[in-house]
């Protein structure tokens, strides 16, 4: 019964999305103004219904209701509770339901709280949001019903891909989805603004917190995903330029550019058309990424939820929404003026440069991701990997980092380089010192050297905008910028360290044997079998000493899951302040003499955790900026409410006087 209720709720939500589109659209016409009143409530109810449907699906997974096809195919009664819940979105149908739920709740949230924009623009925005939702509801209901039944119900389910049975992954997809789909709000705002031709500072200010919110989730999601790939896949790498990783990077790049151009629009009323364009592009990249991943058109190590038959459906949705938005842009953008002008040496100039560089990296990532598809259409197959992505993206990233060092110190409108050049002495000294140190310890490759020099310089430079201000009194949004930019520097240093300093060793070790990797000496003490809730494992016990120091124990495992039957290595990590020891236990091999040896893969990765610490700092900076925007908005609202009360009181008094006058 419960699955049918869930399906019913989905249909209702879809119907309400239709109503929201219709009423929102009609309210823009001369005769339909009366419809405006219902749009916001409908949007809220629609979001709640979608969330309820997702809640039911989660409940079915928790109960392991095997009469539901999706549960039978992806869950198993022996799975721990957390992975039963995570199993809900670890598959195609469930993840699409999560998608529409996030869209619905996002729309509901906007409908409930956003009151800064002119009402027609809001109506157009909510109608746009409903229009996009409607397509995804149709996709769910007609092509990926998550509540489909299975007759007869099997005795137990298939289980979840063991790679996905990891606590980090339970919350990685929802986080990323909040980011991807949160950008739909920026998309809808852009549509609303284009339809009503209201592109100005108000539009940017209204859109900014939503973009910021989505961007924070994306940042956290990408950081967590990178760390997950790092320690679960057991390959010791943190970024593989895999199509799925690119699919999450591209919306992030667009959203980062959008945040900055929205700031220019909000502060200076410039870059109007460009900001609207980025609003469209950011969510378009989310949809394109989802399509590329879900359609199976590009092969990827992330192919957990691939179904080529559905590719056509998603492609049609893409063509309608992205094509439609770009058509609207082409028709309307000419009537959106570019806004205020500014000198090249100015805060705006630096931000435009950052935008162009971010967009270029987005472009080359998109080209690299699609290139295999392009050549395949021409009849040859190729794969594009790090040899293309890394240097080509660095070509744009390095100049961007250089501008990031001084850009935030420039004044709006026009500035002189000579004014800020004395301030640049500090980052310059830091860059030379760090680069010199890296060169002295033997780093010879250009990109790692640049990263090791620019990273610390960027961290130092990020704090310069605080100079001359009381640290406690500086606005929260300024602190947000400082921390986010410093986080970029920290992450950059970590990335460069990985290429520059990582030491790797693959050995076939006997029990008792000691191996050296970097400053660590590692003894394989024993290998013993252990059992978990739905797996068994061989566990290696490694006794490691850093530079002859105290002994620490690491326990890498080679796990065998039995539902579905699959083996995978669970790495064991040991962090120190200056890096991370990374160990993986491989298979047992018997030598010619019948001796047993275990494959051990050992890495010493100096400073590598800074990559993720930096990522989290970036997200934290975004969080502070968001907090400051929300606080400002609340303050403004309270002031207005107070003003409103006062007006009411004055009116009441005046009325009272009048009444008295009448009496007299």
């Amino acid at each position: 019964m419960l699955p049918e209720i869930g399906l019913g709720l989905l249909w209702l939500a879809a119907a309400l999305a239709g109503l929201q589109l219709l009423a929102g659209g009609l309210s823009l016409t001369a005769n339909g103004k009366g419809m405006a009143g219902i749009v916001r409530p409908v949007a809220m109810v629609q979001g709640v219904l979608a969330a309820a449907a997702l809640g039911i699906l989660i409940w079915l997974f928790v109960q392991t209701d095997l009469s539901v096809k999706l549960v039978a195919e992806n869950s198993h009664s022996a799975k721990p509770l957390m992975f039963k819940i995570a199993g809900t979105w670890g598959n195609h149908e469930g993840s699409m339901l999560l998608w529409v739920t996030v869209m619905g709740l996002g729309g509901a949230f906007v409908a409930a709280v956003e009151r800064r924009l002119p009402e027609p623009t809001m109506m157009a925005t909510l109608a746009g949001q409903a229009f996009v939702s409607l397509g995804f509801y149709a996709f769910l209901l007609f092509a990926s019903n998550p509540f489909a039944r299975l007759y007869p119900a099997p005795e137990d389910g298939n289980g979840l891909n063991p790679l996905l049975q990891d606590p980090g992954l339970a919350f990685h997809p929802p986080t990323l989805y909040l980011g991807y789909v949160g950008l739909s709000i920026a998309f809808s705002f852009a549509i609303g603004a284009l339809i009503t031709r209201q592109v100005g500072p108000d539009f940017a200010r209204a859109m900014r917190p939503w973009v910021l919110g989505a961007w924070i989730f994306l940042t956290v999601g990408i950081t967590a995903g990178s760390y997950w790939a790092y320690y679960v896949l057991g390959w010791g790498g943190w970024w593989f330029w895999d199509p799925v990783e690119n699919a999450s990077l591209m919306p992030w790049l667009a959203a980062t550019a959008l945040l900055h151009s929205a700031s220019v629009l909000a502060a200076r009323n410039a870059l109007r058309a460009w900001t609207v364009m980025l609003g469209v592009v950011a969510f378009s990249m989310s949809m394109v990424g989802t399509f590329l991943v879900r359609s199976g058109i590009l092969t990827s190590v992330h192919a957990f939820a691939v179904d080529p038959r559905r590719g056509g459906f998603i492609l049609a949705l893409l063509a309608i929404y992205i094509g439609g938005a770009l058509l609207l842009f082409a028709l309307r953008a000419a009537t959106v003026t570019e806004g205020e002008r500014f000198a090249i040496t100015s805060r705006e100039g630096a931000l435009v440069f950052n935008n162009v560089m971010l967009s270029s990296i987005l472009g080359i990532t998109l080209i690299g991701t699609l290139y295999p598809l392009f050549t395949e259409a021409m009849g040859t197959k190729v794969s594009v990997g790090p040899p293309y992505f890394t240097p080509v993206s660095a070509m744009f990233a390095v100049p961007m980092f250089v501008v990031l060092i001084f850009g935030p110190m420039l004044r709006w409108r026009r500035d002189k380089f000579s004014r800020i050049s004395p301030l640049l002495a500090l980052p310059l000294v830091v860059a030379i010192a760090a680069g010199g140190w890296a060169f002295a310890v033997g780093v010879r490759h250009v990109l790692p050297l640049l990263g090791l020099a620019l990273g610390p310089a960027l961290v130092v430079a990020s704090f310069l905008p605080l100079r001359g201000r009381s640290v406690l009194r500086a606005p929260l949004s300024l602190w947000g910028m400082v921390i986010a930019h410093a986080g970029i520097g920290v992450a950059l240093f970590g990335m460069a360290s990985d290429s520059a300093f990582t030491v790797e060793k693959l050995v076939a070790a006997k029990v008792g044997e000691v191996n050296q990797v970097g400053p660590w000496s590692i003894r394989l003490a024993e290998v013993a079998p252990i059992a978990g809730p739905n797996w068994t494992a061989m566990e290696g016990v490694l006794k490691a000493r850093y530079d002859g120091g105290a002994e620490v124990t690491l326990r890498p495992q080679s796990r065998t899951f039995w539902a579905p039957l699959q083996t995978n290595a669970v790495s064991a990590l040991k962090g120190r302040w200056n890096g991370q020891l990374y160990t993986v236990l491989g298979d047992e091999t018997l030598s010619d003499k019948g001796e047993s040896r275990w494959q051990l893969r050992l890495w010493w990765k100096p400073y590598v955790p800074l990559i993720w610490i930096g990522g989290l700092l970036v997200a934290l900076g975004g969080g502070l900026a968001l907090l400051s925007r929300v606080a400002q908005d609340l303050k403004r609202r309270m002031a207005r409410a107070k003003g409103g009360n006062r007006r009411d009181e004055v009116a009441a008094l005046a009325h009272g006087d009048a009444a008295k006058g009448d009496a007299a």
Binding site: W235, G237, F240, N269, A273, M277, V280, V281, S284, V288, F291, S295, I297, P308, G311, G312, L315, L318, A319, I322, G323, L326, L327, F329, A330, A333, A334, T337, E338, G339, E340, R341, L370, L373, F374, E376, A377, T380, K381, V382, S383, G385, P386, P387, E504, K505, L506, G586, D587, T589, Q599
Partner: protein, 183 residues
């Protein structure tokens, strides 16, 4: 409005995003409609290896030429690269094949000598010869689309089988059987 709008993009530029997106859709439609072609293999199977001579990719092994396969004994031709991650997973499997007496020749794709030396040092070197293919020319000529791939070549230098992706441990018997059949 007119007072602050001197820098307007030309009208055609506003259509550019839509045109690019249309190109994307066209490309993807072609990709979706065209059947997934994972058996490019069949086009080259039964044909002799194209003529090529590749310089040595690593110091410790000689380079590779078509003639090296015309020995009368079936051999494997492994396409790999030090930057290719599945190749690392494949290394112990190739080592096992070598231990069972299989001769494995390799072509290293777009690789650097230092990276390759590090790779062979860490993951083992099961290869008899390693040729360097810096522009994927030979790779494309023999119908290989990615790394890793492995070809079974008979004693006359004719391609008998193409394996796409890394060879898994459970596939070792299949490869051995194919080599026997090629004799």
């Amino acid at each position: 409005m007119s007072k602050d709008s001197p820098a307007k993009a030309p009208r055609w530029a506003l259509w550019l995003p839509l045109v690019l997106f249309a190109g994307f859709v066209a490309l993807v439609v072609v990709g979706l409609v065209k059947p997934k072609n994972t058996d490019i293999a069949s086009q080259m199977v039964g044909k002799p290896l194209p003529a090529f001579t590749l310089r040595a990719a690593a110091d410790e092994r000689p380079g590779l030429a078509t003639g090296d396969f015309q020995t009368g004994k079936p051999q494997l031709l492994n396409i790999f690269a030090s930057w290719c991650i599945p190749c690392r997973a494949e290394a112990p499997v190739l080592e096992e094949l070598r231990r069972q007496g299989v001769t494995i020749n390799a072509i290293a794709i777009r690789d650097h000598k230092a990276d390759l030396a590090a790779f062979l040092g860490q993951y083992g070197n099961p290869y008899a010869r390693i040729g360097a293919d810096d522009v994927s020319a030979v790779q494309l000529a023999i119908g290989s689309s990615g790394v890793p791939e492995t070809f079974v070549i008979d004693g006359k230098g004719v391609i008998r089988y193409q394996h796409i992706g890394d060879i898994r441990p459970e596939q070792i018997p299949d490869i051995i059987r194919l080599l026997k059949e090629a004799q």
